[in-house]
Symmetry: D2
Subunit: 384 residues, 4 copies
């Protein structure tokens, strides 16, 4: 049993986002940190550190244009040299001045065309980097009732999605992200999983839904959505982070570790614990150091996964079928209440890693090194 669990944990793959290594903040302030990368190459170097100490973060997601370079093939080779690889390509159609009233759902056809061209360019970059996944997040929406026509915006969205879908090559897919609100404050054009699901369903198997754990209304049962999408074959992956209020983008598992465990349980239960599901991190380290923040998130996902793997499926099924409410809940909670940190430490040692990634990173001197070396030039951030 423990052997199976360790084997399963050994196969885990978690993707870090390049933008987590740059500066981020709220609308009130971005607090700059020292040693932050100044270009995509330095971001990859930082991502490689996360992988070096955890052993389960071998890919890094890019964000275009924040990670725009002249030679994407060279960037991919650079990743390879660092022992990692390029993961998903994230499009950005929310920061150009033209997108104030929307990108692919903008009432102005010229703006829509521009946005679509960017999306297609992202597929070009997939071709160049070998990435197989395009992540689509649309901040599109309206702030005021009446501002634009809700239905027409769906028509425009459908048209753009179809165009991107048609451009996808063999072995490529896109993941459509939904979000309740922010930056749109009245109506968001893809506000919930149902909307994303309905659009993807019409297009075909290369379109799937991605669940960002911070993008739901208060009280939403996220693991239900995970279970439902997996049953439909429509779960493409996750943007993991955590939140107490809105899209807080805190470290994964920091706000509600029990929820993270329940989500990972449904992933496993639903047959989604494999390479077809993209387990991506997406968070903002507003006040904590970036690299150890990512390491902590990776470890929290590992711990939740280990606990989920520990659930005694036979005992659970038996109690469930007997209608034993307390018994079934007890089986479930037994796994959650187990301290899996020793198991994970063991796993790391067997893989030749330090059993304590946080401490190993601290001792590595990397933090001091980048502070000393990365002096001058604009730091990477959401706008750069």
């Amino acid at each position: 049993m423990a052997t199976d669990i360790k084997a399963a944990l050994g196969r885990q793959r978690i993707e870090t986002p390049s933008w987590a290594f740059g500066n981020s903040g709220t609308r009130f302030k971005v607090f700059a940190q020292r040693g932050v990368p100044r270009d995509p190459y330095e971001k990859l170097a930082d991502a490689a550190q996360v992988h070096r100490h955890t052993g389960v973060a071998p890919t890094v997601a890019l964000h275009i244009p924040w990670d725009k370079v002249d030679d994407y093939a060279a960037l991919a080779r650079h990743a390879c040299d660092l022992g990692i690889a390029i993961g998903a390509i994230n499009s950005n159609v929310f920061q150009d001045d033209d997108y104030m009233l929307g990108s692919v759902t903008n009432p102005d056809p010229a703006v829509r065309r521009k946005a679509l061209d960017h999306l297609l360019e992202c597929v070009d970059i997939m071709d160049l980097t070998g990435s197989d996944t395009l992540k689509l997040w649309f901040s599109d929406g309206t702030n005021y009732p009446g501002q634009d026509d809700l239905r027409s915006r769906q028509d425009r969205l459908a048209e753009a999605l179809a165009a991107v879908y048609d451009r996808l090559g063999e072995g490529q897919r896109f993941l459509l992200e939904y979000k309740l609100f922010e930056p749109a404050f009245y109506a968001t054009d893809v506000p919930d999983w149902g909307t994303a699901y309905a659009h993807c369903l019409k297009l075909g198997p290369k379109a799937q839904v991605v669940v960002d754990t911070g993008h739901h209304a208060p009280g939403t049962n996220i693991e239900f959505i995970v279970a439902f999408l997996l049953r439909e074959g429509m779960l493409g992956g996750f943007d993991f982070n955590s939140r107490f209020y809105a899209d807080d983008d805190l470290m994964v598992g920091a706000a509600d570790p029990f929820q993270l465990f329940r989500i990972m349980y449904e992933v496993i239960r639903g047959g989604g614990y494999n390479e077809r599901t993209a387990f991506m991190l997406d968070q903002c380290h507003n006040i904590e150091p970036k690299i150890p923040g990512q390491i902590r998130s990776v470890m929290n996902v590992q711990e939740a996964t280990a606990k989920a793997l520990l659930v005694d499926g036979d005992a659970l099924a038996r109690a469930q079928s007997e209608g034993d409410v307390l018994g079934a809940n007890a089986v479930f909670m037994d796994a959650f209440n187990t301290d899996v940190r020793p198991l994970l430490a063991e796993l790391r040692e067997e893989a030749g890693l330090d059993p304590d990634p946080m401490s190993a990173y601290r001792r590595s001197g990397y933090a001091e090194k980048i502070v000393a070396e990365r002096v001058g030039g604009p730091q990477a951030g959401w706008g750069a």
Copy 2:
């Protein structure tokens, strides 16, 4: 213009629920009211009063078994004699002791069979009463993580829905209701529109989604869902009520009249303002008198509809296409800010009704009459 609007308002049809005329309350207390009906016949009589004074509430929904009678054809004739007709049939698979852990999603196949038989019986009653709509609300869900298997419950739900679908006759349909929570407090088996939509989509055109305006997570944009479902041809109707917090089941439009207006606007915009959409009320008059409570709800829907019809579509489209945020919002708000009560009073007078339904009901003496006559015998309520 005003003529068109009045014509449209004259065609409006709003369905009252039989259970709104009986006693209702919270888990803390049901406050009994005097004059409340003691059987389905008396409920129909009360529903007829709502129609008599408003002119737009010609049908009444039944709830089985609360409205169980020996002779449904006779009940239908009784309705006809009162100038109204039987509307949707509402199933109830949440009150039998066997349903503690679910009805059609119960882990026990015998309970599932029992629940399904009830649903099929409801279709029999549709045949007998001439009703064309079956409303399905499942309280099914779990209270504790691990209590039952989320995915298996979806399998069971799909199986039951398919069986009901197959039983539907020509011209019959079912509407599947979703609800975030209550009475299930961890996971509800049909918690959101996406779940209802996905199930209906697989079955065919006789299965549609019904939107209860009190069944969403805080912050959910309901009119977006309305617009989306209409675009998909999947909006079957509404259970109207209003809420400040959860499923409060207050009088329609009492908590947020602007939201009701936005919903009615999307109904009209999306081509849903016709007999294919069921505009049903579903509320609990815990503390206010039942019949005038229904009259007020009907009037509030009328007022919201009138305002929505008043939106200057050409001016709105122009401002929207120009990206004129303030201008478009202003066109929209102009309609909402208009006092449409004089228009509706006029409409009523032209239809031979009293311009003030609330006052006409008060003067009718009906309230005093039922208090005097309905003495003895158990009052109708949710459990009877």
Copy 3:
């Protein structure tokens, strides 16, 4: 260290509520369970079982009139014979027909007088039973804007609270409960801790605030409130339960064990881990068996407390003062991630108890015994 923690855990006192042993449910259905008590004496017997197996639940709260008896002194002696004692007295001014529009805040002075008389009678019962704590929950509020005057209702509330306060004897106090909504759906007269605090502050040291963990708006940081009230000397105690959505009244710690841990941490940090703080349970076992449901809740509180006691205060203070965000969080999480069940099992064995209370209860045969014996007569519930 472990010795101190065990000593602290050994001193813990958790109060069970008599009503948790009777039937309860939602507005949709109360599912009756077999073996449920039929009178206060049988409720005390069940509460004694919880104490017998956990060793930390020596008192039971009464609810008047649900626990009305002719001879309260005899009831108190009965408790004593069972090895437990009467805890807080809970008033009930929400179920009489007169309270439809409020009790102490009702616009009708006669109803207010009646409600106040009930509250004063509860103090009489305190005198008779030796209880030192009166718990006041007012369901008072309004369902519709305009229904009553918000400010006048505060005046009436203040008047009633002052009258009760004046009646309190030496060593007696009342705890004022707040709740966001339900059964009032527009405005609740004591909706939040601020309102309860302001009223208590004016009265004096015998009036304190009680925190029901299910009574807040979504997103509310409950441990902040706990810390704040303790700093003000105004935290009287807890009604523990858990929730995913509203006032779900699930078993304590079932929905968010991390939150329960954070709350217990602030209790300890703020000097509230002693007999002046009442740690009461308040939940509805709608679908799970009552006695083991209570045992589970008691154990969950114990586990959260053990983890909170394990927090390394020195290390935490150091990291906090250095602004080490990740370090401080890690110290905090180390305690939460520890499996404290072995420690608690040890503690129980040292106290002569079975290390596994759930299993011990199951093996005791008590459940079968009460099912066999408690036949005939109306079961206890919220209305009886």
Copy 4:
């Protein structure tokens, strides 16, 4: 009656915020607009336009350091020349790099000292500008459980508030703002009205609470808080804006005009409709033009006020005292459903203003003028 109402409306005073005329946005993007002010003088000029067309916005709030100038007396004279005056002074202790972990509640005493010095400097500016109100908003809080000590932060907060309080001169006061979350995502140091109230209460009459209508948890009844604070003499004023989700900072009344009406009703009912209550706007015009956005907000407040003044107090009190739920609600809704725009147009004309401020502004040519003139130099925004 109408005369009294018009007189009351004629006395209304609404304060615009200088920062609303600069650029603002979300963490994703600030969309710059043409013609935006480049310094405080230009902001005042824009604020004067709002007053010119509405007649009820004679003061403008400053924000330090965004509105830092060398000669505040000169700035005040400039305002006077424009026909307006300086209103509240808003402090800013959230944008300096030192404030990453808090300002007055920071664990580092040097940072706390720096923050306090800024607050005291703001009082100096009050002396120089003649402003009588200091608005204190603290973004202080923590993102992770354990990050800092909740209680110690309250001690530090209390200390800072006392120091500012002691510095206030005759006729000066401060208003303490509360906010549920953002930019702090775990615990905010002043998260709710209760916290602000408790701190102010200890200090004395120069400390009052300010209600920002976007700073509450979902479902919070804001008008209850308004009524409660007025009853306690602790309502200092408002930051008006509107929201569908979080602190969206949309135009006042745009999201829920009925709520705005209910708030204004409680202001009037509670004796707060006078110069002791500061009616300030605080919003972000992310996508709409700034000046007409402010005009719209001012007009929306006026309309809500007019409706609130129209409530028939005698009829309402009668229905309330009789427990006539529907009757009382109807009296309340009659006022809300009235179209007050003609009344306000009349009022404006009598005051020598254009009856339609939006159209008058459009025709004034001011928008074109500032676009033409304000070329070159950094635009004002939240960071400048």
